[in-house]
């Protein structure tokens, strides 16, 4: 501990130099912590917002093999109800919807690709609050059996107003071509790009367009977990119960990867099952392509961090060589007075460690202040970023494990930079060191 306090005193003797090194470390730490907190926060809030919009954290679909073709619909949902109840999910936390995954909406020569989600509009008004719909607006939608709800961006793209009749071109569950007509019953205030690909209509009409076998048939079963973090574990419990009755679709089968090898594997999988199989996916799995894009940002910041650390380490190594040269007589004196080699080495390594700690804490503090400032602007709930914001504000999320990992990296790099000069200092012969003139 004596040498630790000597190390601290040595650092304070050269305040400018110490501040420069700590500052370089702080810059790297600031960048990596801020970007990571932003990406982690954005991804989390995106998942929460999508879970609210899609009204669930877990989505269950059923595939039927008919004449070598796979058709997706749910008709007999008794086992699904049994599985969710056995997992402790209340009936009120379960929803059902009918969806057209890909359709083309046409109005006045303009087109827009849309996913159309058919909802049960007879549900209580409160269930539509996450969509930003007031009870009066819900009542308006209920009145029109072939009504559709667009976001503002979609309506702008199609140049359509409320009351307009849009044509939809889509495929049935069997892949047949079908055409329908929707009346625009409400246009929401949301102006985001992301939600401009999703529209909401009546379950019954969507089921009719999809040519589902009966009116009691639907596309998917949604389960709301207690939280986003609880969803994966709950999904596993539900899967375990369903696996007793049905074949489960292998994980990752819903991938967006349509490369040759993936489709070959998919074709082999498709050929190998018969009857009915169930697909259980969490919101995390469904949003994997989006989170992959966001993860790309983190990788870029990681690369910048590594580059900065390498530059910093070179600077630290050179600085400690200078320190060694400056203190050669001091070290000689210490050794002559009885300090051992490991004491000299430890003293220099302590200096490096304290520099990295100070730099880390400064970077962390700067990152926290920046995050607090960046949460202040209100981007509104109708902007393109709205899905990545919480009520219009950016969110940041610092993960404790990540903080520890960055601290460990910074400390190790800094100590490694000082290790060479520290060993050299430890090997100095006292007499030779004392004879040296500065």
């Amino acid at each position: 501990m004596r040498f630790a306090s000597i190390a601290l005193r040595n650092l304070s003797r050269q305040k400018k130099r110490s501040a420069l090194i700590a500052g370089a470390v702080a810059l790297g730490v600031f960048i990596i912590l801020t970007v990571n907190a932003f990406t982690a926060g954005s991804v989390r809030i995106l998942k929460e917002n999508m879970a609210d919009t899609l009204q669930g954290h877990i989505f269950i679909t059923m595939e039927h093999k008919l004449n070598d073709k796979t058709v997706s619909y749910i008709e007999d949902d008794s086992m699904l109800w049994e599985a969710t109840r056995a997992a402790g999910v209340a009936d009120a936390d379960v929803g059902r919807s009918v969806e057209i995954d890909m359709s083309t909406m046409i109005y006045g020569g303009k087109t827009s690709m849309q996913q159309i989600v058919g909802l049960d509009w007879s549900a209580p008004d409160a269930e539509f609050e996450p969509m930003g719909l007031s009870p009066e607006e819900v009542a308006k939608v209920r009145k029109v059996p072939n009504g559709v709800v667009f976001n503002r961006r979609t309506a702008k793209n199609l140049n359509v107003e409320e009351g307009g009749v849009v044509i939809v071109r889509m495929s049935t569950i069997n892949g047949q071509s079908n055409v329908g007509e929707f009346v625009v019953s409400h246009i929401t205030e949301d102006d985001s790009d992301i939600m401009s690909f999703v529209s909401f209509a009546h379950q019954e009409y969507v089921a009719e367009l999809l040519d589902l076998p009966t009116t009691k048939t639907y596309s998917s079963f949604q389960v709301r977990a207690e939280s986003l973090d609880a969803a994966p574990a709950l999904a596993e419990v539900i899967k375990a119960t369903l696996a007793e009755t049905y074949e489960l679709k292998p994980k990752g089968s819903g991938s967006f990867d349509f490369s040759a090898s993936r489709v070959r594997k998919k074709n082999a999988e498709e050929a190998s099952w018969e009857g009915i199989r169930v697909n259980v996916r969490t919101i995390n799995e469904m949003l994997a392509p989006f989170t992959t894009l966001v993860d790309g940002m983190f990788i870029v910041s990681l690369v910048i961090f590594v580059i900065l650390m390498v530059i910093t380490i070179i600077g630290i190594a050179n600085t400690f060589r200078m320190i060694l040269f400056e203190r050669i007589r001091e070290i000689g004196t210490m050794r002559a007075l009885g300090s051992q080699k490991e004491h000299v080495r430890s003293m220099m390594l302590y200096e490096a460690l304290f520099l990295s700690l100070v730099g880390y804490l400064a970077g962390l503090a700067l990152s926290l202040v920046t995050q607090a400032l960046l949460t202040l602007p209100d981007f509104g709930t109708t902007s393109a970023f709205s899905l990545f914001t919480h009520q219009g504000h950016l969110t940041f999320r610092m993960e404790p494990v990540y903080l520890i990992v960055v601290l460990a990296i910074v400390s190790i790099f800094t100590i490694l930079a000082a290790l060479g000069p520290a060993r050299k200092a430890a090997r100095l012969e006292p007499a030779a060191a004392l004879r040296t003139s500065n």
Binding site: N67, K69, I106, G108, G109, K110, T111, I167, R169, S171, T172, N174, G175, Q176, S177, N178, V179, G180, L209, D211, F258, S259, A260, V263, N267
Partner: protein, 252 residues
């Protein structure tokens, strides 16, 4: 007695005629397929597709070379224009249709009912005719189109796996049973696309349409014209219907 006998004869003749008419319409459909299928030979042509889309300014032109082998139900299309799409292609083998992009050197799975590139033509416009396999004739009548006498056949898909649920086709009465016009209907019986076949080329007793127009009935003003040139029935090497050929031909 005489009157009863006469009535019976007339009834029998009418019944026979009606029976003959039903059989004839199905035969007409089979003949349409037969004339458009090159079972014993391969088929190559250069195709030009011109699309007019109200959402885009001006006309867009796509040019491609296409290869077809009906006996194996294979085709390959290699795009040469526009420049940004040069080297892209489609390959159909068995039930799989692949789209190749030389920029990424990747093959992606496509559906036959999807549009070919950004045009109003569909991928299955390049494959062989299978009307008799896929459809029942629910109604047949006589009509006239472009001053030509024709049969107007109303078709209904035999099962719900056929992409286009309903069609109406105009087939020439005199001469070979060539399709002059088709209308495609959705499951909700809405007219989706009208196709006109202006010119045919006779090659060894088989016919290929060399001038076609596809009108999108749901999007006003959207139409696609397709013309075929340099049609050839020469044998095509097996290697053409492979992914490796598509990659090589794209310049990769």
């Amino acid at each position: 007695m005489k009157k009863i006998a006469m009535a019976l004869v007339v009834l029998l003749v009418l019944a026979g005629f009606a029976h003959a008419q039903d059989t004839d319409y199905t035969k007409v459909l089979k003949e349409v397929d037969r004339l458009a299928t090159f079972t014993n030979t391969d088929f190559t042509a250069f195709v030009t597709i011109v699309t007019e889309d109200p959402e885009k300014e001006g006309k867009s032109v796509n040019k491609a070379q296409f290869f077809r082998r009906d006996k194996d139900d294979k085709f390959m299309v290699l795009i040469s224009e526009p420049v940004v799409q040069k080297g892209q292609g489609y390959l159909k083998v068995d039930d799989n249709l692949w789209f190749y992009d030389p920029n990424t050197n990747e093959f992606t799975h496509q559906s036959l009912k999807e549009n070919f590139s950004d045009t109003g033509a569909r991928n299955n416009d390049f494959s062989k005719s299978t009307l008799a396999d896929d459809y029942n004739v629910t109604k047949g009548e006589s009509g006239v189109i472009a001053k030509q006498d024709c049969w107007i056949l109303t078709l209904e898909a035999k099962n719900n796996t056929v992409t286009i649920p309903g069609m109406k086709i105009w087939v020439a009465k005199s001469g070979p049973a060539l399709v002059l016009k088709t209308e495609e209907y959705s499951l909700s019986k809405r007219l989706e696309r009208t196709n006109l076949y202006g010119k045919y080329l006779n090659i060894d007793g088989r016919y290929i349409a060399t001038a076609m127009r596809f009108d999108d009935n749901l999007t006003a003003g959207k139409r696609t014209s397709m013309t075929l040139e340099k049609v050839n029935l020469g044998s095509i090497p097996d290697s053409i219907f492979t992914k490796a050929y598509l990659q090589k031909a794209s310049g990769r």
